[in-house]
């Protein structure tokens, strides 16, 4: 187990270094930032002074090490536009992303688990077929388009929900559903198959033979045993989906003032320090989220625990 954990941790650090390196190489490839900072009247000497000041005259490997050191210390520099530290910008936007993430995840579990259970218990019923369509659509629908269509339906045509921005409960419903639909479809499929497996087991037959109330059999004996894979999977999927780009997409569609939107806005304003920092922070969250789920999963699953021993 310890060996597995150490290996997994090392891999996460390596992945983060790869991301950092890619970002470093890409930003260095993009041209000399001095040309952007100085106006046309600047002399050759001005260039040299600024290059030296920014540390750009040092050898690449040294620049790279300084870059990694600064990131490790949480120093991402200042925004080109506002001159404020980039970290401040990020902290301002992080709560909105977290809020949307948690609500969307709760929503996808609340939709996926009961629907999956119902569809397992009533196999072949019309609702089961409906659930199948819901799940298949969820895995084929472009999330950004779903968001826009929800705005069209509920915001424009029916006028019952706001089309964007952050505020009360009514503001979060559409973005949370947009972000959670894909995951809820996957959770539904998984709950359904896990439930079917559990329901066919001997202890469920026994519980029924004992004359337990069907609801107790289903929810206590059935769901409790089917839930473990569902929960780990739900968290994993969610982390992936949110930080892999779900946040950027959903926040853009709904003008949700989170980190993803900040990154995209900063691309438009060419505020590279923010883009860099935002991407690195989201990547770090994504990688630690994955690590967390893997560890949780291996802890809960004895087969993996033993294999690593």
């Amino acid at each position: 187990m310890t060996r597995y954990l150490a290996g997994r941790l090392a891999q996460t650090v390596l992945s983060m270094l790869v991301v950092i390196s890619i970002v470093f190489v890409l930003t260095r490839l993009s041209g000399n930032p001095v040309d952007l900072l100085l106006d046309a009247n600047a002399t050759e000497q001005d260039h040299a002074i600024l290059m030296h000041h920014l540390g750009l005259d040092r050898p690449m490997p040294v620049q790279y090490l300084i870059y990694v050191k600064n990131i490790a210390l949480g120093d991402f520099g200042n925004s080109v536009l506002t001159r404020r530290p980039v970290t401040e910008h990020i902290w301002e936007r992080l709560p909105a992303t977290a809020e949307l993430g948690f609500v969307a995840m709760a929503l996808s579990v609340l939709i996926g688990v009961p629907l999956g259970m119902y569809s397992a218990v009533h196999r072949g019923s019309p609702l089961d077929s409906g659930a199948r369509i819901f799940a298949v659509l969820g895995q084929s629908m472009p999330p950004f388009w779903l968001g826009l269509m929800l705005i069209l339906l509920f915001g424009v045509l029916l006028g019952v929900l706001p089309a964007g921005g952050r505020g009360g409960i009514q503001h979060i419903i559409l973005p949370a559903f947009t972000l959670g639909y894909f995951t809820s479809a996957a959770i539904l499929r998984l709950t359904r198959s896990a439930m079917l497996e559990v329901l066919g087991s001997d202890y469920i037959k026994f519980a029924r033979l004992k004359g337990l109330h069907e609801q107790i059999v289903l929810w206590k004996h059935g769901l409790k045993n089917a839930l473990l894979p569902v929960v780990t999977f739900a968290v994993m999927l969610f982390v992936q989906f949110l930080f892999l780009g779900g946040a950027v997409v959903t926040e853009t569609v709904f003008a949700w003032p989170g980190l993803g939107r900040l990154i995209l806005e900063s691309i438009t304003t060419r505020d590279y320090p923010i883009v860099q920092a935002g991407v690195l922070v989201l990547s770090a969250l994504y990688l630690t989220g994955n690590l967390f789920v893997d560890v949780l999963y291996s802890y809960l699953n004895p087969r993996i625990r033993r294999a690593g021993a």
Binding site: V19, M141, I267, L282
Partner: protein, 313 residues
């Protein structure tokens, strides 16, 4: 006929490898097993129509996909008031014909998917074949690299790439291939491990054939069915990914009629000209749906071993 019990997710022979958290993937709906087994007519016809659109786009669409008549802007679809038969699905804010753009857009979706999958498939297959056949330290190193590749947050990397350069076809394909190759590497490695154990490989070794010969002549042909299935299963994912990147403005550059770009174009006109966003999205939904159904069917028919490997992000 079940094949040998191979861990296609690449875990076998490597007990310390990270768990490939692929959930026991959802089993096909049992209640509709027959529907599942039946030939996917719906998917096949959608895909057929798509390919026809892509190949014959210039002949099928009456209008130019990139040049619009500004006096004809924001015309609604044919069945609405003001709609004309000239523009069955309406026009966008530059007066470009939405239907023509969707038809031409199928070219972009298919071309990007095709190239990205060929690139990723070639890299992934090479890595997988070598890792699986060589084993030992080569295998460990290559699979570590694969794990890292799988863990990269690709959309974010795409965002940086575009932030420092410009959106272009090349970058979109590059980014997608970067994300995709490890999936091929994993599956192909698993398959290679199984094929390697078979008698004809041992015979070839005894006959003194070189590793290159054995890999290309004996192992690779046996991996092709798997490759075909994985490739199909990835098409839907690639179409969605390209759509997402284009929608965010970090994918295919305008004025190309990429579906994602068209959906983004219509964002500001939801209240007045909803058709600009609705129709390209429907096209994308149908495409991905059809490819996914087709991929599931192929997986069940061509390669029973892959059934457990249906995990898609």
């Amino acid at each position: 006929m079940p094949g040998p019990d191979v861990d296609v997710m690449g875990g076998s022979g490597r007990p310390s490898s990270p768990p490939t958290l692929a959930p026991a993937p959802a089993k096909p709906w049992r209640g509709s097993v027959r529907a599942y087994r039946a030939y996917p007519w719906f998917a096949a016809s959608v895909l057929g129509a798509l390919v026809v659109c892509a190949v014959f786009a210039p002949w099928l669409s009456a209008q130019s996909p990139t040049d619009g008549d500004i006096t004809m802007k924001l015309i609604p679809p044919i069945w609405m008031e003001r709609g004309t038969s000239e523009h069955p699905l309406g026009t966008d804010r530059f007066g470009r014909d939405v239907l023509s753009r969707i038809i031409h857009g199928s070219r972009i979706s298919l071309l990007v998917s095709l190239i990205a999958i060929v690139v990723a498939g070639s890299i992934g297959t090479t890595v997988g074949l070598i890792a699986g056949y060589r084993g030992g330290i080569t295998d460990t190193l290559l699979m570590r690299l694969t794990d890292i590749g799988l863990s990269l947050p690709t959309i974010l990397i795409a965002v940086v790439i575009v932030a420092v350069s410009e959106p272009s076809f090349r970058n979109v394909i590059l980014v997608i291939a970067l994300l995709l190759w490890p999936r091929f590497a994993r599956q192909v490695r698993g398959e290679t491990l199984a094929v390697k154990e078979q008698d004809f490989v041992a015979l070839a070794v005894v006959a003194g054939r070189s590793s290159t010969w054995i890999i290309t002549r004996h192992i690779f042909p046996n991996v092709i069915p798997t490759l075909l299935v994985i490739s199909t299963l990835q098409v839907g994912y690639v179409v969605l990914l390209e759509g997402t990147l284009s929608f965010l403005g970090v994918g295919v550059p305008p004025p190309n009629p990429a579906w994602g770009l068209m959906i983004a174009d219509g964002r500001g006109f939801l209240a007045t000209a909803w058709w600009i966003s609705l129709f390209p999205g429907l096209a994308m939904l149908l495409t991905v749906l059809a490819v996914n159904l087709m991929g599931d069917w192929l997986r069940d028919h061509l390669d029973p071993k892959l059934r457990q490997a249906g995990a898609r992000v």
